[in-house]
């Protein structure tokens, strides 16, 4: 499969797994992805802490830059903050007339599930705030933050 089909298939994968195997299986997949795929974020946070997060998401070489997301990232006084104005994944799903996964979990829950456990390993707590439609579907705007645990 081409990576150009990835977001549509990723979204459909979550629906399929919840329907066929239950919501715990979706959580299990996300935990596996966090452990096995997020190794670059893990390495950056391990070596550079919050600066590693800026490097991971921000800049032209960061994942969000390469995905052409509309976002802002800042790191000030030990607090990392991110604002997603238009999530490229949700935008892609809407452009393809796909219903964004909105079951017992939502598409946007996968970000928290993937990234927060990585940060936690290094004493960093992450927060996520996602905007939803009235029916609970993600609309592609969120904020996320991180700071060292006290």
């Amino acid at each position: 499969m081409t990576v150009h089909d990835f977001i549509v298939t990723y979204n459909e994968t979550f629906k399929y797994i919840e329907e066929k195997y239950g919501v715990e299986a979706v959580k299990d997949l996300w935990q596996t992805i966090s452990e096995q795929w997020c190794t670059h974020l893990d390495e950056l946070v391990k070596n550079k802490g919050l600066d590693g997060m800026v490097e991971y998401w921000g800049g032209e070489d960061g994942t969000l830059g390469r995905e052409k997301a509309e976002y802002e990232i800042s790191l000030k006084d030990g607090v990392f903050s991110g604002i997603m104005h238009e999530c490229p994944s949700v935008k892609e799903l809407h452009e393809n007339n796909r219903k964004v996964y909105n079951g017992k979990l939502t598409y946007c829950d996968h970000c928290r599930a993937l990234y927060a456990p990585v940060a936690k390993k290094y004493g960093i707590e992450m927060t996520f705030s996602v905007e939803h439609e009235e029916n609970g579907e993600c609309i592609g705007r969120c904020t996320w933050g991180a700071t060292h645990s006290l």
Binding site: I7, V8, W37
Partner: protein
């Protein structure tokens, strides 16, 4: 939206998760579901445009992903020889141990292409595959020659 190459590794992580947790049959069912639910437009294009359309689609797709393929359409048979598989190129270049392609990684092409071919009135054959980034496919109009 622009895709990132790390998603090739993520496909592999997901396939591995499926197979380890539920077995190869479940992984196969998952590929079938994804093909049935996400590739309607591709099927329609294949139906309308026939082998020419399949040739265009794969040449375009491999070019987009920075892979390489040679496609020949002769005697109502389309042969696509993948000489640089973008999935393998990326995964081989990565130091992530979980990006070593699973044994059945390439099978997704066979499962998915069989469905796309069937639904658009064609036959598909995975004629060669070295499970290392080289493979040769063929498509024929249903009732024609494959292999």
């Amino acid at each position: 939206m622009a895709p990132i190459k790390e998603w090739f590794g993520l496909y592999n992580v997901m396939y591995n998760w499926f197979e380890k947790k539920y077995g190869y049959k479940a992984l196969n069912e998952y590929w079938s579901y994804i093909t049935e639910s996400c590739f309607d437009k591709v099927v329609e294009d294949f139906k309308k445009g026939g082998l020419e359309s399949i040739k265009d689609y794969y040449e375009h797709t491999f070019r987009l992903d920075n892979g390489k393929c040679k496609a020949y359409l002769e005697n109502e048979k389309l042969t696509i020889e993948v000489t640089k598989c973008p999935d393998y190129e990326f995964m081989k270049s990565s130091s992530n141990a979980h990006f070593v392609p699973i044994e059945n990684y390439c099978k997704h092409h066979e499962v998915m292409n069989n469905i796309l071919a069937e639904k658009s009135g064609h036959s598909f054959c995975m004629c060669e595959c070295d499970n290392d980034g080289y493979c040769k496919w063929s498509f024929s109009k249903k009732g024609g020659v494959t292999g």
